[in-house]
Amino acid sequence: MQRQGFNRTAVILHWLLAVSIFFLFISSWWMMGLPLPSPELQFRAFPFQLHKNIGITLVIIILMLLYVRLRHRPAPVDSTHMTGWMHWLAILAHVAIYGLVLAVCVTGYLSSAHTRWDTVWWWTIEFPRIAAPDEEMNEFWGELHTYAAWALLGIVAVHVSGAIYHAFRNDGIVRRMMRW
């Protein structure tokens, strides 16, 4: 028996992911404008650690969402509401979003792992050091992190545009991800 929409866990995880991604973008633009750290200036300490906490949590959320999505597949969308190219664009955007969220999180962690800063997840669980501080590797992974994040923002824009398009057509497709 198949549900027409996504199941509730998938819906909650999806919107949690959405809020977290936007928070990470907005807060990262702000925190990069804070003074560079020194023994007297620690403005960056809290926002950077929070950024890492949420980023690592996102990996867990996206893997859970992937599991739930694969385990509970909703019924296919009525083809009268979604033409062939729209269907493929939607699949492509979803795959890209999953891939890019994972890429952004992993490259961010690897960049951070090559700095002198430790990662204490939610100020509780200390992650073991996987690499010695290395400025070149930090920059390398940091750049990949940035590019992946910009690509993610672009794909999210496509995804959001698709949702708004279907809302204006009132064809019931967006309702599949809004079932509380």
Binding site: M1, Q2, R3, Q4, G5, V11, W15, A18, V19, F22, F23, F25, I26, S27, W30, M32, G33, L34, P35, L36, P37, S38, E40, L41, Q42, F43, A45, F46, P47, L50, A75, E135, N138, E139, G142, V160, A163, I164, A167, F168, N170, G172, V174, R175, R176, M178, R179, W180
Partner: protein, 183 residues
């Protein structure tokens, strides 16, 4: 076989208003959450003396951040300027309003979903929550107007834009309720 059908009786106004509320709600939760964090970080990290130390701008950090020594030094002046231009009451007021705003914005995501599903209570709840968000904007506007030119320049445009958006959502929800009443 389909176990449960989707409600296909949602009027267009509810579908559109719901999705717009969700999109704005997602973004605004992040914006308000970030604002609360900003105030907290600035207040908790200002030196007790109020005098900012010299900038620490090592070459490798500058290269990584893609900034010059002058910009690195400016980052300190920038934070100091924000702290200097904020009256004593401002960070607490802004944190409170942003906290309330973040909660209401998150609730507006749920309300948006209820509108899209055309739940019976959705339009009434929408008027209340969107009205609450507009009220938060007004209070933030009033708070910022009572600071100096630095914070006004930084905040007022954005707050005004959010207020207009929330006013549009409130009016949209009210119009929807009137349409419902006439049906």
């Amino acid at each position: 076989m389909v176990s449960e059908g989707l409600n296909n009786n949602t009027p267009s106004w509810a579908s559109i208003l719901g999705v717009v509320a969700i999109m704005l709600g997602v973004f605004l939760t992040a914006v308000h959450g970030n604002e609360a964090m900003k105030q907290s970080v600035i207040v908790n990290n200002m030196p007790a003396s109020g005098v900012m130390p010299e900038a620490d701008c090592p070459e490798e950090e500058l290269e990584e951040e893609g900034i010059t020594v002058a910009e690195c030094e400016y980052l300190i002046d920038h934070v100091a300027g924000i702290a200097l231009s904020a009256p004593d009451w401002f960070p607490a007021a802004q944190m409170t309003l942003s906290g309330i705003g973040a909660v209401l914005a998150f609730i507006s995501i749920i309300i948006g979903g209820a509108l899209v599903n055309y739940t019976p209570w959705a339009s009434k709840a929408a008027v209340t929550v969107f009205g609450g968000l507009a009220a938060v904007d007004l209070l933030q506007f009033a708070a910022v107007v009572n600071t100096g030119p630095t914070l006004r320049e930084m905040y007022l445009g954005g707050i005004l834009l959010w207020f207009i958006l929330h006013l549009m959502l409130v009016v949209g929800a009210l119009a929807g309720r009137h349409t419902e009443a006439e049906a």
